[in-house]
Every structure is written in structure tokens, then in C-alpha cells.
Assembly symmetry: C2
Homo-oligomer: 302 residues x 2
């Protein structure tokens, strides 16, 4: 099965030694490597009746890739450990690895190593390595009072798609697709770093929750403006049908893997970024001056 | 729980940014990074009634560390993803992370990132990064006809300990301990690289199986001599009591994470290494001229 996952795949030039030995070797011209890891568990992070194995593979890569671009770096190498029940059809693991490779290839990266073991549940653990390209990493802790707060990418689409799946609605295929395979605005991460972003994070738990983490790390408050967060008409349409609040999806929906960052007040925002608020002295995240009363967004360990 | 796993731990100087942001940043002065990943699943790779959580944590790190030293590199950074059932006592996850950190610290390395999610089974997925220190990696594919074959570290101890656990024997605590926490001869890996090792691998599946992989990768045959593999008296004593064959443990027992390597015929073997045979033209692994009839060693996906 490991051979099937590896055979015929194209590695980037940074992969000096790919899968097949005790370890892989990657070129790191910057002299620093960025690294992050995530574990996804069947039934908790994905459902095989709601997503195809190919979509699950793409999503697993996308959420890891988003962690790297939110540092201002670019993903170069992925390591994939897969736990599968003994009766998992080969077609499922093939589609999963195809999905992984297809998102990895879009990034120009490679799967440089992995493991495949038997487990009760399908478990996917991915580690991603990234390249800073000579720039300093953009941390969560660098936001300054007076900075602009901005986002790149979609907000609330994944949450709306999940609500449609839960309601067994067939009306919103585009939103369901956004839940199945997020499309992080990868290039906006390094672009923000070059434009002088002072702090950055990806939106995995929800905008309010993740800006809350950024605010705590920076020791600042974040003030958002609802009129700058006006939900997309597609979200409004779905919210009306599904009995939900579209702004709630935008503020607390996770898994879109948008990027949120702070920039100096006078910085020109790079393409793809839109201002949504400012950094203030204090703590917490407020929308139009009120603390958000929601549950703070999706959590993976509850 | 992640805070508990991270708080108060000491990072090595190579960790430029540790856990807590979207990703970690590690210094890579060599310009290349070595990387490997392994997944361990409860009931398949460990049992909580046979090993303490602390031992399981140490073993998970040791088997990953062995993959790095078998390239001639040194482990510097670990990423740990942990899946736990909802009812896992905090004492168990604390002991597991203590075990992980204790083996990581012995290596002078750091845990730079991780994830913690809910799952049905305990699942530990570890990725390790390593530093080549300016040397070329030692691959499985470099063995030359006429080379010496040598090993460093213990063989068969883990298999004997597992047999004692299965037989519910309390007679062999030292062997059981070897199964619970392997002690890879870490420093022998880089030492072999400096001494001109032409190929190297760690012994995770069993000596015959892993030398078989090395032989295939190098396009050579491996000839071993039983008199150079004489089982330790402690293995002979246990084999007599447990009705097993001590040489079988030495040849096919996995999980000791010994190192096996090939060296030029005239090379002086570094400390800790012992000659066990030679590289010949052809294919396969033979012991005193006979093909090994065993099952080829332990497999993680059967």
C-alpha cells in the first residue's frame, strides 16, 4: 500500500531523498524550517458519508498548508501517517492518497515520507515543512495598537456547508464543497509577510476564536466592524433556508482556513486582503463594540 | 492539555520558535533537514497493560530517533500528534508526554509542535527532524560487494521480552524492560557515517527483514555468520524457559532499534559496532549459506 501511495509521484527539487529509506532528506536553503502537525480522526474531523476520500485527503493537506502560509512561509514537504481499519478498501486508501497528492502538487510540494498502520478508525496525521525564503516568520504575537486587522479568503462557507449537510439539504452544493475541500488563500500568506504584516494566523477555529488567540499572544484587543464582515449573499440565502445566522457563520465558523492578519495602519493591503477592523489597547475581541456572545468557535478536543 | 504538555519544557537552541503559534521554526544550519514519521496504535504497537504510558512515550520517540541516526544524522526536533479516547485520565496523557519529553531531552532535542484530538483508540503519531551536520546521509542503497556487515545495539531482546509478557512470565524483567523501552545505540549512527559506512538502516522489523530491504536497495546479497550472532546468555536462558529459539529472536525480532550497516572491507569499525557478515553479489539474506526460512520479521500492517 505504501508503494501504491508513492509510485509515479513527482517530487519537487527540494526533495533530495524521498520515501523509501529510513528517513527523507529535504533541501532547506533558508537555514530555517517551519513545521506543523495536525491529526484528523474519522467521525470527528471528517465523515466518509459527507466527503469522498479524495476530498478528505485534500482537506487534510489544505489545513496543514494553511498553518505554514500563515507564518508567511511556503509549504514544501509533507509527511503523512495513515491509520486504517483492516477492512478499508484499497480504493479508499488510493483515493485518499490521490487527494493528498493532488493538493500537495498544487502547492508545488512533495510527500516525502509516511507510515501506514492498522487502526480501528481512519486516522490521518500530517506534518508539513515550510520555507521562509529569507523572510522573518510572522507570529501571532506581533500585533500593535493602531494596526489594521484584515482577512484573506472565505469566512463562514465551511460552517454553512456543514449546516447544509446536517440538514440533509441538497440546495447548496457550493457551500457543501467549501466544507469538503477548503481553499486557503495560500499566496496571500507570503504576500502579507512581504507587505509588512505584524501578526498572522489562519482561521481554523473561527474568526473570533483565532483573532482571540492572536490578541492574547500580542497583548491587545481586536475591534471588528460588522459592516466590513457583511456575509456573502450565498451565505445569507442558505441561512434563511436553514434557519441560521449568516454573520454567526462568518464570525465563528471554522475550517475555511482563511488568513487573518494585522498590518500597520498606513500599509497598503496586498491583493486578496480586506480590512475588517483595528487593533486596540486592552484584551478580547469585540464586534461593533460588543463582546461576542457565541461559543468561541469550533474546537477539536471537546 | 496541550499547555500541560508544553509548559516548563526546555527547548534546545535550534528551536527558534516552539509550540504555541501556527507552526514552529527550527534552525537548520546544514541547509538540509532529515525527516521521518511513525504512527503507533494502541493494541497493535503497544498495550497499556504491558507498558506504562511513560514507557510508551519513550519508545515512540526512540523508534523515530533510530530512523534519523540510521541516516547518520542527529534528531533535533519532534512533532507529536496524540489521539486519545475522551475518558483518558489526565494522569495517562501527562505520563505519556513526560515519557516523550524524557527521551527527547536525552537526545538534546525538543518537542516543537503537536496536536491533541479525541479518538477511539490511543494513537501516537510522531515526526522527527534531524541534522546531518555537514555529512552525506547514509542510505540503504550504498552497500558494495565485499563490504563488511555489522550491527550496533541489542538484537532479540525486545522479542524475548514480548514473549515473556505473552507467557505472563515474571522471570525476565530485563528483557521485558527492553521490550517496553528500546535503547537504540544513537551515537553509533553518526559514528558509522564518519567511519565511512556505505549503507545503514535501523532494525525495526527484524535483522533479516531489514538487511533484506538494504540488500534490495543496494542490489546485493547479505551473508551472515551464525557464530557472529551468538545469542546473549540472557536470551538463551529465556528461550529455554519459554520454549523459543534464541537465534530466531536475534534474526527476526524487531523493535530493538539496533543499527545495521555495511562498511568497506578494510574499514576499522567504530566503537559499539560488531561484524556479523559480508556483502556478496546476488540477492537475499543468507545465514551460514542458507536462506532464512522464518517469516521475515514483525510487520506493522498485516
Amino acid at each position: 500500500m505504501i508503494d501504491r501511495a508513492v509510485a509515479g509521484r513527482v517530487q519537487p527539487s527540494s526533495t533530495l531523498l524521498g520515501p523509501g529509506d529510513d528517513a527523507a532528506v529535504v533541501r532547506v536553503p533558508d537555514g530555517r524550517v517551519v513545521a506543523s502537525t495536525d491529526m484528523l480522526v474519522q467521525g470527528r474531523h471528517f465523515r466518509l458519508d459527507w466527503s469522498s476520500p479524495e476530498q478528505i485527503g485534500r482537506k487534510a493537506v489544505a489545513q496543514n498548508g494553511a498553518d505554514i502560509v500563515s507564518m508567511g512561509a511556503w509549504p514544501t514537504s509533507f509527511l503523512v501517517a495513515l491509520g486504517c481499519p483492516a477492512d478499508t478498501p484499497v480504493a479508499v486508501t488510493d483515493a485518499l492518497t490521490d487527494g493528498i497528492w493532488s493538493e500537495v502538487s498544487e502547492l508545488g510540494a512533495g510527500v516525502i515520507g509516511g507510515d501506514m498502520v492498522q487502526s480501528e478508525q481512519l486516522v490521518i496525521s500530517i506534518t508539513v515543512l515550510g520555507d521562509l525564503g529569507g523572510h522573518e516568520p510572522v507570529l501571532r504575537s506581533g500585533a500593535q495598537v493602531g494596526d489594521q486587522v484584515a482577512v484573506a479568503g472565505r469566512l463562514g462557507f465551511s460552517a454553512a456547508g456543514l449546516a447544509a449537510l446536517r440538514a440533509e439539504s441538497a440546495e447548496f452544493p457550493e457551500l457543501v464543497a467549501a466544507h469538503q475541500v477548503p481553499t486557503p488563500p495560500y499566496r496571500c500568506g507570503p504576500a502579507a509577510a512581504r507587505a509588512g504584516a505584524t501578526a498572522m494566523t489562519d482561521v481554523s477555529d473561527g474568526l473570533v476564536a483565532d483573532l482571540g488567540h492572536l490578541g492574547v499572544a500580542s497583548g491587545v484587543a481586536v475591534e471588528l466592524h460588522a459592516d466590513l464582515l457583511d456575509p456573502d449573499p450565498r451565505l445569507r440565502a442558505a441561512a434563511a433556508v436553514l434557519g441560521a445566522d449568516a454573520l454567526d457563520w462568518v464570525l465563528t465558523g471554522g475550517e475555511d482556513h482563511a488568513l487573518a492578519a494585522t498590518f500597520p495602519a498606513d500599509a497598503a493591503l496586498p491583493a486578496g486582503w480586506a480590512r475588517i477592523g483595528e487593533v486596540r489597547a486592552g484584551s478580547g475581541v469585540r464586534v461593533d463594540g460588543c463582546s461576542w456572545a457565541g461559543d468561541g468557535g469550533w474546537q477539536s478536543f471537546s
